[in-house]
Amino acid sequence: MTPLHFEQQYQAEWDELAAQVRLIFEGRAKQSATSRPIRGEHVASLYRRACEHLALARARAYPRYMIDKLERITSDAHQVIYQRREFGLTRAWHAVAYDFPRAVRAHAGYVWLAAALFMIPTLLVGWLVYERPDLILSVVDGETAAKFEEMYSDSAEAIGSTRGANENWIMFGFYIKNNISVAFQCFAGGMLAGVGSMFFLIYNGVFGGAIGGYLTERGLSHNFYSFVVTHAAFELTAIVLSGAAGLRLGHALIAPGRKTRLQSMVDASKDILPIIYGFVVMLIIAAAIEAFWSSARWLPSEVKYSVAAICWLAVLLYLTLQGRRAD
């Protein structure tokens, strides 16, 4: 068989495969408009034939243009045939009900380490600043400290007292953009052998601790804690989880075990993906609470603390118990 003969004989099949793949690519709207519907099993068999033809053409050293054409047709069809659809409501529900809490429990060691890296600086610096308030100046400058003090003071300028719906929306947008970006950075820092995640955890701990200790010493704890305690259930947990995901990635890089470093990292990123989905959702919830609930100062503190207690309990129970039966 000569190259031209080969081409003549199979050209029609290749054209049909290319046309069908283009149809699949262009989507349902165009498909219904044409007279020839797509038959999946037919496309698959055409694809396998084209693969055979490509192998033959290569083995027989047929002209380059023919091999190029077959390569293009098969690689386009390959992309369409092996497409994966991982989205959908059932899938999302499964992620919430099982994948996320189970992934968190599977990485309990990393979560505890991340929690320690975050909490120890928070408590330590918080206590130090409470004892010696001037230490706040080694963490933030005087202007920032004064701004925080004013924000949580009893005066009219403080957050919540005069804030309308408009400002709430602005803050909602701000919290989403800012907090989730921080969490992403905290996770991505894991790529630097975990050091980046550790840095962000400790840094955020020191910052939060310093502000908390300072405001407590100033006697503004009633405003500060009633503001932060509810959304903290979601926000602080999410930051710790993002750090834990980063630590896992870093650990996979430092200690790949029997895998190659690359493979170990790819596997780790597969394992921690549910945690990433999870902490993003938690941060969105946190942003909504922080913008619309935490800022409502007219609510009595008893209500706020009760709701906060329920939130904390719900988050902790969800992470420790949800989906256990399927474990």
Binding site: F25, P63, Y82, F172, K177, S181, A188, A268
Partner: protein, 230 residues
């Protein structure tokens, strides 16, 4: 060594050849993407201004989505590329040639944060220059590859000379060489074509002939090998 082609074997047993994109093409792609995002944000800020607080809130959310979600959304689309990459004829695929999965897209785009360090994608540039397959850190963790879309090869016009029967039996390799010479003929100068055809003169017989006549006959042999008969 010089060639950066990555090949992946499919379950059907064929090798898919992929050409990883280098720094310059990907730099242009990201510049285009950033320009698009900036333009959208500028346009949106006018609308946000009219709506007031809610508008600004949503504008900030839009800014967040454009920063992190824009590449994920487009990479998971049919074309597997952001508008910038599409403009540069690039595409993101798994390194086994499969379409990119949501997991991989999310991983590679969140790890942008570390690729960006210390500034202006320094880590990404460093990593891409070190590797023949041009992966940045996010690509390493996600097992993805940014490749050039294959360019459709122009079908060589091979049918301008009369077929000539070869003067001797040709091994498959030699047949392929003669055919690919004929396919390249339109891109070569006449002198260069004559030089190359002279190397293959034995396929058209031993009698002394003019160089242009040798070339014509060698191209004729290619026609014969392709399956044409007078």
């Amino acid at each position: 060594m010089l060639d950066s082609v990555v090949s992946a074997e499919t379950p059907e047993g064929i090798l898919l050849e992929m050409r990883p994109a280098g720094l310059s093409a990907r730099f242009c792609a990201i510049v285009i993407d950033k320009l698009i995002c900036t333009a959208i944000l500028y346009a949106a800020i006018f609308i946000a201004g009219i709506l007031g607080g809610i508008g600004i809130g949503f504008w900030l959310i839009l800014a967040f989505l454009l920063e992190w979600g824009y590449p994920i959304y487009f990479e998971l689309g049919k074309r597997g590329a952001t508008p910038g990459k599409r403009a540069m004829d690039l595409k993101v695929v798994m390194d086994n040639g499969l379409p990119i999965t949501p997991r991989a897209s999310i991983t590679r785009n969140l790890l942008r944060a570390v690729d960006f360090m210390p500034f202006a994608y320094g880590a990404a540039i460093f990593c891409m220059l070190l590797r023949p397959d041009g992966k940045r850190l996010g690509d390493l963790a996600a097992a993805t590859l940014v490749v050039h879309l294959p360019r459709p090869a122009p079908k060589a016009t091979l049918d301008m000379v009369a077929p000539v029967a070869p003067a001797k039996l040709l091994a498959p390799r030699d047949q392929a060489a003669v055919i690919s010479l004929a396919a390249r003929a339109p891109t070569l100068t006449v002198e260069r074509l004559d030089e190359l055809a002279a190397l293959a003169r034995s396929v058209q017989g031993e009698e002394p002939r003019e160089p242009s006549e040798v070339t014509r006959r060698v191209l004729g042999v290619a026609q014969w090998l392709l399956g044409r008969r007078a």
